[in-house]
C-alpha cells in the first residue's frame, strides 16, 4: 500500500469518527454528515487510483466508473425524490444495498480462493518459500516436521480468509434479506406473518447455518465422505457455500417477518449494525483499515443506538426480537371485554371546541405522516394561535415509524422548534390542557400501557392524554394501530372520534374554524 494511500485511509477513518460524533449533536449534525461524506469520497478516489495489490494497479476502470456513475444517479434520485414520510423505508433499502454489496464481495472472493488466486494464497506461497529455505539449511532429517509446520501455516491463512469470507456472506445476506422485508413491511406490501413454532424454525435455520459454516471451515481439505457422493470434492464444497447463502437469505426473511411494524425502527437499526460488521469483514479480508474502522464503528454505534431506541420504548431488545407482537396477539383478543361504545364528533363541533380552548395539544402519529398532513396541521396551528389559542405538539419518542420521525416531518412544515414538546414535558402540561387533538396516533396514547399488565405494550411510556379535559381523535377507522390492540382511550366519555383522512379532515377543520 502506498504511503499516500495509508494517509488517506487514516484521514478517512478520522472523518468517520468525527462525523459520527458531530451527528450526535443538533448544532453540528449537518456538518458532521458532510465531514464523513468527504472522508468517504477521499477514501474511494484513493482506492481507485492508488491501491496496488501485489504492485499492480487496479484495472477495469471503465466498469468501475460506470458502476459508480449508475449508483450515484440512482442513489441521488432515490434520496431526493423520497417523501419525508417514506424516509424509514429508504434507510432500510440503502442498508440492504450495503448488505448485498458485502455478500457479493464474499461470493467473488470465495471463487478467487477456490481458484488459488487470493492474497492469502500469495502469503501461503511465501511461507512455502521460507520453509523451503529452512529445509535446505536443516537437511533432510527434520523434513517431515517442517512440512507439518508449513501445512499448518498454510491452513491458518486459508481458514482465516475463508472464515472472514463466510462471515461476510452470512451477515451481509441476512442484512440484505431482512432490510428488504423491513422495507416491504413499512410500505405495506409485506404483512406481518407468524406461525406457531416460528422461533423454533428460526433457531433450526440458524443452527444449520452455524453447522454448515463449521463444516466448511473444518474440512478445508474436502476429505469428508459427503463430497464424494458422485460429485467432485470442489462441487460439494461450492454447494455448501451457496447453501449457506440461501439459508442466510432465508434467515433474514424469517428473522424480520414476525416482528411487529411498530418495532421496525429497532430492527432497521439492528440490521444497520449488521451491515457495519459485514463491511468490517471486508476490512479484514483486504487488510484495509478504513473499511475495518468504518464498519466496526457503525457496528458498535448501531448496536448502542438500537438499545437506546428500545429504551425509549421501555422494552428490552430481547423482548422486541423474541416476544414479538405477532406472538402475543392472541392475548388481548382472548380477553375481549365489553368496551362500550365510542362517540363521533361533527366537524363544526370539533372546530368550536378547538377555537374556544385556551390550550390545545396536538399529538401527531403515523396517520399524519401517511396523509402528508404536516403542512395543513401547521396551518391549523397558526389559525388557532391567531385566535389566541396556545398550541403545542406532544411528540412521543417512537411516534410514527422511527424515533424523530415526527420531528423531521413537522420541521419540514416549518413548525417552530419550541412548540415541540418531548414526552415528559408534554405529560406535565397535559393536565392543564383543554383539548387534545390526536392525529393518527394510537399505541402511543393507549392507556393499556399503564393499566393493563396483560397488554403487549404494557410498560411502554405513553402520552397521558386522558388527563386533558377533552380528547378528539382523528383516525381513518376504528381499526387497531400497529400493535394490533384495542385502545380504551377511544371508549372513554371525554373522547370523541373524528373519522377520515388526516389531511382532508384538517383542511375541513381549518375552513370551519375560519367561520367560527
Amino acid at each position: 500500500m502506498s504511503s499516500i494511500l495509508s494517509v488517506i485511509y487514516l484521514i478517512g477513518s478520522v472523518t468517520f469518527i468525527l462525523g459520527l460524533k458531530m451527528l450526535s449533536k443538533p448544532d453540528t449534525a449537518r456538518k458532521g454528515n458532510l465531514v464523513a461524506a468527504s472522508g468517504m469520497t477521499l477514501a474511494i478516489l484513493g482506492t481507485i487510483f492508488l491501491y496496488k495489490p501485489e504492485g499492480q494497479s487496479l484495472h477495469n476502470y471503465g466498469w468501475i466508473f460506470a458502476g459508480l456513475l449508475i449508483g450515484t444517479v440512482i442513489g441521488v434520485m432515490a434520496a431526493k425524490k423520497v417523501k419525508m414520510t417514506a424516509m424509514p423505508e429508504m434507510v432500510s433499502m440503502f442498508n440492504g444495498m450495503g448488505g448485498a454489496c458485502a455478500a457479493l464481495i464474499s461470493i467473488v472472493e470465495f471463487n478467487h480462493l477456490q481458484g488459488n488466486n487470493t492474497s492469502a494464497m500469495a502469503a501461503a506461497m511465501q511461507h512455502v518459500q521460507q520453509a523451503g529455505q529452512m529445509l535446505e539449511q536443516l537437511g533432510q532429517g527434520q523434513f517431515s516436521e517442517q512440512r507439518e509446520l508449513l501445512q499448518s501455516l498454510f491452513q491458518v491463512d486459508y481458514r482465516g480468509t475463508l472464515l472472514i469470507i463466510v462471515l461476510g456472506l452470512i451477515i451481509g445476506s441476512v442484512s440484505f434479506a431482512g432490510s428488504v422485508i423491513a422495507w416491504g413491511k413499512l410500505n405495506g406490501s409485506v404483512k406481518d406473518f407468524s406461525f406457531s413454532g416460528q422461533h423454533i424454525v428460526n433457531l433450526v435455520v440458524l443452527g444449520l447455518i452455524v453447522i454448515l459454516a463449521a463444516v466448511l471451515l473444518i474440512d478445508v481439505n474436502n476429505t469428508l465422505p459427503l463430497w464424494s457422493h458422485g460429485k467432485t470434492a470442489a462441487t460439494g464444497f461450492n454447494l455448501v457455500f451457496y447453501g449457506l447463502l440461501l439459508l442466510s437469505l432465508l434467515y433474514g426473511v424469517l428473522f424480520v417477518l414476525p416482528i411487529g411494524g411498530a418495532d421496525m425502527p429497532v430492527v432497521i437499526s439492528l440490521l444497520n449494525s449488521f451491515t457495519g460488521v459485514a463491511a468490517a469483514c471486508g476490512g479484514f479480508l483486504y487488510d484495509n483499515p478504513v473499511m475495518l474502522t468504518g464498519g466496526i464503528l457503525v457496528g458498535s454505534a448501531g448496536t448502542i443506538l438500537t438499545i437506546l431506541m428500545c429504551k425509549a420504548m421501555n422494552r428490552s431488545l430481547k423482548n422486541v426480537l423474541i416476544g414479538s407482537f405477532g406472538g402475543s396477539k392472541a392475548g388481548p383478543a382472548g380477553g375481549t371485554k365489553d368496551q362500550g361504545s365510542y362517540k363521533e364528533i361533527s366537524l363544526s363541533d370539533a372546530a368550536v371546541v378547538l377555537a374556544y380552548a385556551n390550550k390545545v395539544m396536538v399529538v401527531p402519529g403515523y396517520g399524519l405522516a401517511v396523509a402528508q398532513a404536516q403542512h395543513v396541521c401547521h396551518e391549523l396551528e397558526k389559525l388557532l394561535e391567531e385566535k389566541g389559542v396556545e398550541v403545542k405538539y406532544a411528540i412521543h419518542p417512537v411516534a410514527g415509524r422511527m424515533p424523530g420521525h415526527m420531528n423531521v416531518l413537522l420541521a419540514e412544515a416549518d413548525v417552530p422548534y419550541e412548540k415541540l414538546l418531548e414526552m415528559e414535558e408534554a405529560n406535565a402540561e397535559l393536565p392543564t390542557t383543554d383539548a387534545v387533538l390526536v392525529l393518527g396516533a394510537n399505541d402511543v396514547v393507549n392507556p393499556a400501557a399503564k393499566n393493563d399488565a396483560t397488554s403487549p405494550i404494557y410498560g411502554m411510556p405513553i402520552l397521558e392524554v386522558e388527563n386533558a379535559k377533552v380528547v378528539i381523535v382523528n383516525k381513518r377507522s376504528m381499526k387497531p394501530g400497529y400493535a394490533g390492540i384495542e385502545n380504551d382511550l377511544f371508549f372513554q366519555p371525554k373522547t370523541s372520534m373524528l373519522f377520515g383522512d388526516a389531511k382532508q379532515m384538517l383542511q375541513q377543520l381549518v375552513a370551519e374554524i375560519k367561520q367560527v
Binding site: 495489490p53 487496479l58 459508480l68 464481495i105 457496528g299 424523530g404 422548534y417
Partner: protein
Amino acid sequence: MEQVSVFIQQHIELIYVVILSVFLGIEVISRVPSVLHTPLMSGANAIHGVVIIGAIIVMGKAEPGNYLALILGFLAVILGTINVVGGFVVTDRMLEMFKNKKDKK
C-alpha cells in the same frame, strides 16, 4: 487451537483496532437526543457504505475473462454506491430541515 493462536498473532494489530473501535463507537453515540436518532441511523448507514471500497477492489482485480467476478463486482459497485451516495444525501435532506428551523429562531 494452535492455529487460532497463530491467526491471532498474525492479525494482532487489526484485532486491537477492532476492539478499540467498538469502544469508540459506544462512547461516541451514548449521549444523543432522541430527535437525532433517525438522522444518526441514516448517517451511520451511509458510513457502512465504505464496503464500496471492497467492491472496487474486487472489480479492479477481476481478470478480463472472469465474467462471474466482473458481473458480481459491477453489481456490488452499483449497490455500494447507492448505499453511500443515497445515505449521505438522505441524511443531509433530513438535517437540512433542522437547520432551517434554527435560522428562523
